[in-house]
């Protein structure tokens, strides 16, 4: 076990995947000499050379489209999108090609492409640098979508994503890049929990709190705070948001009967909507209260000085917990 930041854990995950399989290539803007704007690819150009760590022209559709061609040729491209807000020029190639080619070719062509996206807010960034676009990919059949919350998962799940023969969108919460944790660098993928499995990050009995990515930290903080008030929250780190591990989720909900979901992305047709719809469908008779979402507002990401009023924080989560527990909360008396 080694103490690593999440950024370093991802770096090590890439290094290991490249060492294990010569078909693994990295592509992106500024990933070479600079090591990426977040230094995630630091040292990899030196170690693996310019044929495998490719600084591309500044064009995301171009990056994704050439990654598709490389996959046709048997390569396993790992694409870095520089920031969450710059994935949209590549959207057509992702939705129409990356996600559909295996289906289109009746399984003859695989698209083992990993799309790494430094992701979400809370870092005081400029416009387009704090987006949470995950629902777009969750809604896109043919993709898998994961979001990591700690260095160990970041390391293992990246390797799993790269090893997968399916395309995987891999979300890296920017605001956790510098957070540290134990990482087992020798982890054998065969022994590691599969990429699709959710993790009970904290056990609890009163309320199930579903989340992923950086919000796991916020959720755990909320659970600690709630404990002081005598409320026991079970926090589930989904890890994979498509598919979702409903076995773990429903087991928890059947136990608690109360559900709060939190994510940074906008609420409308977000991942939270899917979680609540699915949980309601699966656990209706166990629910004691309507599941509640705590999400970003349905607004464009606001200027940095205002982001704290947009991002769901501990207080907003606790307010929602009060709501599912039918205790006084901000919406008490408000008709929905």
């Amino acid at each position: 076990m080694t103490q690593l930041t999440m950024a370093k854990a991802i770096n090590e995950g890439l290094r290991r995947a490249m060492a294990d399989d010569p078909k693994v290539l990295l592509m992106g803007e500024d990933i070479g000499k600079l090591g990426g704007v977040f230094r995630i690819t630091d040292g990899l150009l030196d170690q693996f050379g310019a044929q495998r760590v490719i600084d591309t022209p500044l064009a995301e559709a171009g990056i994704m489209g050439t990654a598709v061609g490389l996959a046709f040729r048997g390569y396993r491209p790992v694409v870095e999108i520089q920031f969450d807000g710059f994935v949209y020029p590549a959207f057509d190639q992702i939705v129409c090609q990356v996600a559909k080619l295996h289906y289109r070719t009746r399984g003859n062509v695989t698209m083992p492409i990993t799309i790494r996206i430094p992701w979400a807010g809370g870092v005081g960034a400029a416009e387009h640098h704090s987006e949470s676009p995950e629902a777009y990919f969750v809604h896109t059949s043919g993709l898998r979508v994961v979001a990591v919350s700690n260095p160990q998962d970041a390391y293992v799940m990246l390797r799993q994503a790269i090893a997968s023969n399916d395309p995987v969108v891999y979300f890296e919460p920017k605001r956790l890049y510098h957070s540290k944790g134990e990482v087992d660098l020798d982890a054998d993928l065969a022994d590691a929990p599969p990429m699709g499995l959710a993790r009970v990050a904290r056990e609890g009995s009163d309320v199930t709190l579903l989340t992923y990515g950086a919000q796991v930290t916020t959720a755990l903080d909320a659970a600690t705070a709630a404990e002081d008030e005598g409320v026991s929250i079970e926090v589930i780190d989904l890890r994979s948001i498509s598919p979702v591990d409903y076995r773990t989720v429903t087991a928890s909900v059947r136990k608690t009967g109360r559900v709060v979901v939190t994510h940074e992305a906008a609420r409308e047709a977000g991942v939270g909507a899917e979680l609540i719809a699915s949980v309601t469908e699966r656990c209706f008779n166990h629910l004691e209260a309507a599941p509640v979402r705590v999400t970003g507002h349905d607004i464009p990401y606001p200027p940095a000085k205002l982001e704290k009023h947009h991002l769901p924080d501990l207080d907003r989560i606790l307010d929602a917990v009060d709501r599912v527990l039918d205790r006084p909360n901000s919406l008490t008396g408000v008709e929905l």
Partner: protein
């Protein structure tokens, strides 16, 4: 370079400003750029180009007929473009890899597509039939221009593998406007990748004349990206073969990408759903009919005394057999079982989809039981 650059002359619509080896009348002429690439062009090569084009036209005619008879949902005819497709495609090695668009019937024919491969997708049975690796040809692309990038990426793979293969992308004049095609030129130039872009300028993108996309020759764009280009008579199979040999050789020798604009004409509608009388003159179509790519080689062969009855009947027989094969493939097609819609979404087990497959299976079962019960 000069600091100030003005565009080349506005000849987007000058269809005779092209490199050419056989005139519309079927006369063999010389072209300084092309000659050296077809020194082997004897009668038998010309006959085989002719043969391939006739067969391709037969596939096309059969496709239109099958669509009219309700056997296919749609068909995108390639009539008029046989030389551009067959001529260029004949220059490939079998281990080159080709990324065609939906209209490249002739390209896929040369690559080795089987009769069923031409019709089952248009029939709606499958999105695609052949395994791309069997004929080193990707599934025909419908998203305009997307495949140009795929070809560049494939070529980047070739570079990494250190082989002398070449990747190629086919797209239309309309596609030349898409960001993807331009980004493909940027990437290909930046990485000096072994890729050939074949832009089939058939004068139309559905109802829009090429002048909506380009007031200047499309072939004139590539050099700005550092890519040598050639504008060739797309109705001259020999010229297309020569140009493609030049481009492939250039790539194979490590000089990077090349671009070919094949100037030709879409004789038919955009697809069987289209009504070109709404937007184009009969006169224009008639003018182009006089440049027919098959008639042109036929005239040349006749002049050379190489168009005897034996040859003609051989070709006709092969065409009939192929047509019958295509027809049979359509008529004998069967559809996947309903639950088959879930096949091949993912390459590896997927808990969500397996569950949905189960639900739908239960539904189908219950449904059939119910049916029976009623």
């Amino acid at each position: 370079m000069a600091h100030t650059q003005t565009p080349t002359a506005d000849v987007a619509t000058d269809i005779d400003d092209v490199a050419r080896l056989v005139t519309p009348e079927g006369e063999r002429i010389s072209d300084p750029d092309l000659d050296r690439w077809v020194e082997d062009a004897d009668t038998s090569l010309l006959q085989s180009l002719y043969r391939d084009m006739v067969l391709v036209r037969r596939v096309d005619t059969e496709g239109v007929a099958l669509q009219r008879q309700g056997q296919l949902g749609l068909w995108a005819p390639c009539q008029g473009q046989e030389a551009a497709q067959v001529g260029t495609a004949r220059a490939f090695r079998s281990d080159d890899f080709v990324f065609p668009s939906y209209r490249e019937i002739g390209v896929n024919f040369v690559r080795g597509a089987k009769p069923a491969d031409f019709v089952l997708a248009w029939r709606g049975e499958e999105h695609s039939t052949y395994n791309p690796y069997d004929i080193n040809t990707a599934t025909p692309q419908i998203i305009i221009g997307a495949q140009a990038l795929h070809a560049v990426g494939y070529a980047m793979g070739i570079q990494r593998d250190g082989t002398d293969q070449v990747a190629a992308a086919y797209f239309g004049d309309g596609a030349s406007s898409q960001g993807d095609v331009n980004e493909a030129m940027v990437f290909a130039s930046s990485f000096r990748s072994p890729v050939v872009f074949v832009c089939t300028n058939n004068q139309w993108a559905i109802s829009e004349p090429v002048t909506v996309q380009a007031k200047f020759p499309i072939a004139g764009r590539a050099p700005g990206f550092g890519i040598p280009s050639m504008r060739v008579d797309g109705n001259d199979a020999l010229a297309c073969l020569a140009a493609m040999r030049w481009a492939l050789d250039n790539a194979r020798r490590g000089n990077g990408p090349a671009f070919i604009e094949a100037v030709t004409y879409r004789m038919g509608p955009h697809t069987t759903s289209d009504d070109p009388t709404r937007y184009r003159d009969k006169d224009e179509v008639e003018r182009w009919r006089r440049r027919d790519p098959i008639a042109r080689i036929e005239a040349l062969l006749r002049a050379e005394g190489a168009f005897d009855e034996g040859f003609q009947s051989d070709v006709a027989a092969a065409a009939d057999a192929l047509g019958a094969g295509v027809r049979a493939a359509a008529l004998e097609a069967t559809s996947r079982a309903p639950i088959g819609v879930f096949d091949h979404v993912y390459a590896e087990p997927h808990s969500g989809l397996e569950e949905q497959r189960g639900w739908f299976g239960a539904y189908l079962e219950g449904f059939s039981t119910e049916e029976v019960a009623r």
